[in-house]
């Protein structure tokens, strides 16, 4: 089956007189810039054989990984206790070794670090919403202790959660006062 597919691919790509190579199953590399018209032509040729072009499959895969991470971090329930690497590998159907190397290459950061960044982003939103205490937020995001949460927050942002909160509040007040220059500036402060 794979051989048949490869031969069809070769025939069709030869017809288009493209410089290409076939590094593996499901993968074709075009070694020259390709216009969208020729891409459409290629798609038409290949569709006759039930072959579909997935444009830039790597970026599709990266997006899937990001989506899975964001879903994991933002899910209402507690974050999964089981191994994150297994979870992600199953979710996108590739080995963890492969996706973690690809992820670092394209996004300049590791999957592990990306997860931390996303968790801290969620923490920021919860801090700004003002419904939960710092301890509750740490708990909500599955940190083993409030100290661990604060340390990681500081590692990523350089600020403590409390300083972060204060700055955002001041910034909002400054913006509010700026837009209402004619009114007395001290009203409406929290």
């Amino acid at each position: 089956m794979q051989t048949a597919c490869k031969i069809i691919l070769q025939q069709q790509l030869d017809k288009l007189k493209l410089d290409y190579s076939i590094p593996g199953f499901n993968e074709v590399e075009i070694n020259e810039p390709i216009t969208s018209n020729r891409l459409i032509q290629m798609n038409t040729f290949l569709n006759n054989y039930g072959i579909e072009i997935l444009d830039a499959p790597k970026s599709v895969l990266i997006q899937k990984i990001k989506d899975a991470i964001i879903e994991m971090v933002y899910t209402e329930k507690k974050l999964p206790i089981f191994k994150i690497s297994t979870y992600l590998a199953e979710k996108v159907d590739h080995s963890y070794g492969y996706i973690s190397a690809l992820f670092s290459e394209v996004t300049y950061t590791s999957i592990e670090n990306f997860i931390i960044i996303q968790k801290i982003e969620r923490a920021k939103q919860l801090i700004i919403m003002d419904d939960l205490t710092i301890t509750e937020i740490g708990w909500e995001l599955n940190y083993s202790s409030v100290a661990h949460f604060c340390t990681q927050f500081k590692n990523i942002t350089g600020l403590t959660p409390t300083t972060f909160h204060r700055i955002i509040n001041k910034r909002r007040n400054a913006a509010m006062n700026g837009s209402k220059q004619n009114t007395k500036s001290d009203v409406g402060l929290k």
Binding site: T107, K124, I128, G158, L159, I167, K170, R171
Partner: protein, 148 residues
């Protein structure tokens, strides 16, 4: 897969500092294209030209003659098409009040000027990396604060 280079703009009146920055960017693994301007007046002129392709991140020295980094920051935040550019302030001052004040005025990043080249390179790499995540992963720009 090839990412586009990260466009970096730096405003600093000190020639040595500009050189260090440029060299540090040459050495980090993320591909950047670095533009340099020599002071705040030049910066604002550059940013408001129609032909300018806006940077992904602006590094702003706080202490510059003619127009300070803070003056530039305030101006940028009041210009509609510029106010979303992430601004990284860097300064020799490490006072908490200075840091907080620049954040309140809309800066995203505050860098205490490192004294050695290796630290500078490390700091810039970290800043560019996290900025890139904000650029590509739909994180909320308003919540982007980094003090380093």
């Amino acid at each position: 897969m090839q990412n586009e280079p990260v466009r970096v703009l730096l405003a600093d009146d000190d020639e040595d500092d500009r050189l260090f920055f440029k060299e540090a960017f040459d050495e980090i693994k993320i591909k950047t294209s670095v533009n340099l301007v020599n002071n705040g007046v030049e910066l604002m002129k550059y940013l408001t030209q129609k032909s300018t392709q806006l940077p992904h991140i602006l590094f702003l020295d706080l202490n510059m003659p003619l127009k300070s980094g803070m003056d530039c920051l305030l101006e940028i935040k009041n210009i509609e098409h510029l106010k979303n550019i992430p601004v990284a302030i860097y300064s020799t001052s490490a006072s908490e009040e200075d840091i907080e004040e620049t954040f309140v005025q809309g800066a995203n990043i505050y860098i205490k000027k490192p004294s050695d080249f290796r630290t500078l390179r490390k700091v810039l790499e970290e800043v560019i990396t996290i900025n890139w995540q904000y650029h590509t992963s739909g994180l909320i720009r308003e919540n982007f604060l980094l003090s380093i």
